[in-house]
Amino acid sequence: MHSGILVTGLGMISGIGLNTAESIASIESGKPGVQEIRYLKTRYRGILPVSEVKLDNEALAGISGLDHRLTRTALLSSVAAKEALIHAGGNFPKHIRAGFFSANTVGGMDKTEDFYPIYLENQHSGHLNAVIHHECGSATEIVAGMLGIRHYISTISTACSSSANSIMFAARMIRAGLLDVAIAGGVDALTRFTLNGFNTLMILDKEHCKPFDENRNGLNLGEGAGYVVLASEKAAKELGMTPICSITGWNNANDAYHQTASSPNGEGSYLAMQGALSLADLQPADIDYINLHGTGTQNNDQSEGTAIERIFQPVYPKMSSTKSFTGHTLGASGGIEAVLSCMSIKEGLVYPNFNFSTRIQSFPFEPVTVFQKGQRIRNVLSNSFGFGGNCSSLIFSEL
């Protein structure tokens, strides 16, 4: 067993709060972020509920200090990454090899989709500044600049597992001795592009989503960002960081079943979880809480549940999906849920699966429905699965 890479800082922003503390408080008081659309300009306002970050771009820029004209993706990323960095003790000294590992699926689409109708009418009109940050990698570079990180700036895009993969990549870079510290996670802003895309797939619930419920009816989209600060033991000691927990297991596997649907037996999810357990040298019984991918679609929850059954039967750990609070934040979800997983270990929390009422008939387990405090949580398994068959699992462990 390897000793793991230390987690020394956390930062998140989503529909349930502008930082980690606010988010936990919202979960504890049962206040989901999923509401009527307020900021996104779309014809689905009032029709499809989403979990928006409850600030406009000017206000977001006010928190992190970035230019408000930048993409919402960059602004959301900057707020959460800055929180994580400050939590870990602030800027890294120059001799420390630091990396910024982010992830997203939309890049600067929020600006591009405002630019594009103008461009379609006249190919010589529309401000190019609106599309200059369209690439996914652009938001990462902007925020890395703000954080004072120049080397190892990486952006991953594997749909809904994007930020789990960026955390995994960062942990492996530190373990290989190529880096001392890293800020890792991901971000996504809500766009008409994604809202309409998911709507064509007919997997958006017009009501509040009900992950892992027999009568679930689809997902609610969300937006936000989540980052963890990872450090080698040596770097954490040298920088006087206070470790929160460690990341001991990770694995990335492919379902190789369908571009968007998950396989009935959850092969990809099974391999992801199994590989993470094996790397952490843990038995299923060592897991005290699973933060489910749990989108609330028929397909995901059936597939993920089947994979969980294959691994954990007959004794199931506590589990829940926090997506009924945050919405499915796509490229940010792995990062946000990593932050919640680390807080689970640190504070002994188990989060309720909001809106749950009826157990899925075919499964012998069901999610937790009450907020629990003061639990001993030794290891948390966090799942992130996505389009393209991309399945990733992370394990965070107490120190």
Binding site: L120, E135, S154, F169, N252, N254, Q259, G268, F387, G388
Partner: protein, 354 residues
């Protein structure tokens, strides 16, 4: 670095499969934008699937297929893709309809295929590969990050063979927008004269290049990636030079051991001087080769340069059209690739004969 190229495959604006570039004479084109010479996909992909696939998926899947074939394997342990732009054609298609239909009556296919991991996901799906699968979208470092992940996987013992590639497509909208930003030549230029007559702007390009990488030399090994490196927004040419010097010396080599510099000059007078400025003080009079007159400029073009270097060793031949200046030391043992993308992302590879 224990990193061997066991197989290569490319689809690019020059014929880079079958009897391609290495057997045929180079025929210059007069263009502002180079597009891929695409193979007959029907021998590679199910005909029913081809129709639904956009260009970036097809060239990616085909290049991956060529690389696996050359390496003599059909199931790599991991699949890694680097793409700065992702699936532009499907993204544009979905955006057009979204705007045209005012968010109504949309169909999912273009959206489904617009996600950046579509190429890597499709490669896995077509061969039922359950292994590690990752997609990097780190602009001009997208391919290098994928290669770095490949290197880590091999080091960790997590994989014996890794399929890794760089792919980007050019679309009408992307070309036109980058043109408005001033990236391209105003008038068509002969690709034979692109570098010799530098002006403002370059030519747009696209392509896919995939590699099977392993950590042991085997019968299929055609070259070794001894080292590679990324420098983000270097503060000076000296910073890049220092990186080059340490890249070479860490391999126990001398500057004089480099036989060819393969550089990313693209005919843009604003950014081409960087190459000579960085390299000439270290390598005075050294032979220089180039490749962007074949590939055009795109963010993962360094993968095409690596494909060229691999094939120069594999075929023991340096096509005349690659040589920019100087005389190449024979036999060719070490090639240094130096590319930069808009002076922001600088990449270096040290490739050696096996």
């Amino acid at each position: 670095m224990k990193l061997y190229i066991q197989g290569t495959g490319a689809v690019s604006p020059v014929q880079s499969y079958d009897a391609g570039l290495f057997e045929q004479d180079f025929s210059p084109k007069t263009v502002r934008r180079l597009v891929c010479e695409e193979p007959d996909y029907s021998s590679i992909i199910d005909v029913k699937l081809i129709r639904r696939m956009s260009k970036v998926i097809k060239i990616g899947v085909a290049a991956a297929n060529f690389a696996l074939k050359e390496a003599g394997i059909d199931m790599p342990d991991a699949i890694l893709t680097g793409t700065a732009y992702g699936c532009l054609e499907d993204t544009t298609l979905f955006l057009n309809r979204l705007i045209g239909n005012q968010e109504e009556m949309l169909t999912p296919t273009a959206f489904i295929q617009s996600t950046h991991n579509t190429v890597g996901g499709q490669i896995a799906l077509l061969m039922h590969n359950h292994g590690y699968n990752n997609t990097f979208v780190s602009r001009g470092f997208s391919f290098e990050m994928a290669m770095l992940d490949a290197h880590l996987l091999l080091q960790e013992g997590k994989a014996d063979t890794v399929l890794v590639g760089g792919v980007d497509e050019s679309t009408d909208v992307q070309f036109h927008l980058l043109e408005r930003m001033g990236l391209f030549r105003r008038n068509p230029v002969s690709t034979a004269a692109l570098i010799s007559d530098p002006q403002k702007g370059t030519i747009c390009g696209e392509g896919a290049a995939f590699f099977v990488m392993g950590k042991e030399k085997n019968a299929h090994s055609l070259a070794q990636v001894k080292a590679f490196s990324m420098i983000f927004q270097p503060e000076s040419s000296e910073e890049v030079r220092n990186q080059i010097r340490s890249l070479i010396s860490e391999q126990g080599l001398e500057v004089s051991d480099i036989d060819l510099l393969l550089i990313g000059k693209n005919g843009d007078r604003r950014s081409d001087p960087v190459y000579d400025d960085v390299l000439d003080p270290i390598f005075p009079g050294m032979a220089k080769g180039y490749f962007k007159h074949l590939s055009g400029e795109y963010p993962t073009a360094s993968s095409f340069a690596l494909w060229l270097a691999g094939n120069i060793f594999n075929k023991r031949k340096l096509p005349d059209c690659l040589l920019l200046e100087g005389k190449v030391n024979q036999p060719l043992r070490n090639i240094l690739i130096y590319n930069h993308s808009n002076q922001i992302h600088h990449t270096l590879y040290l490739i050696s004969a096996v």
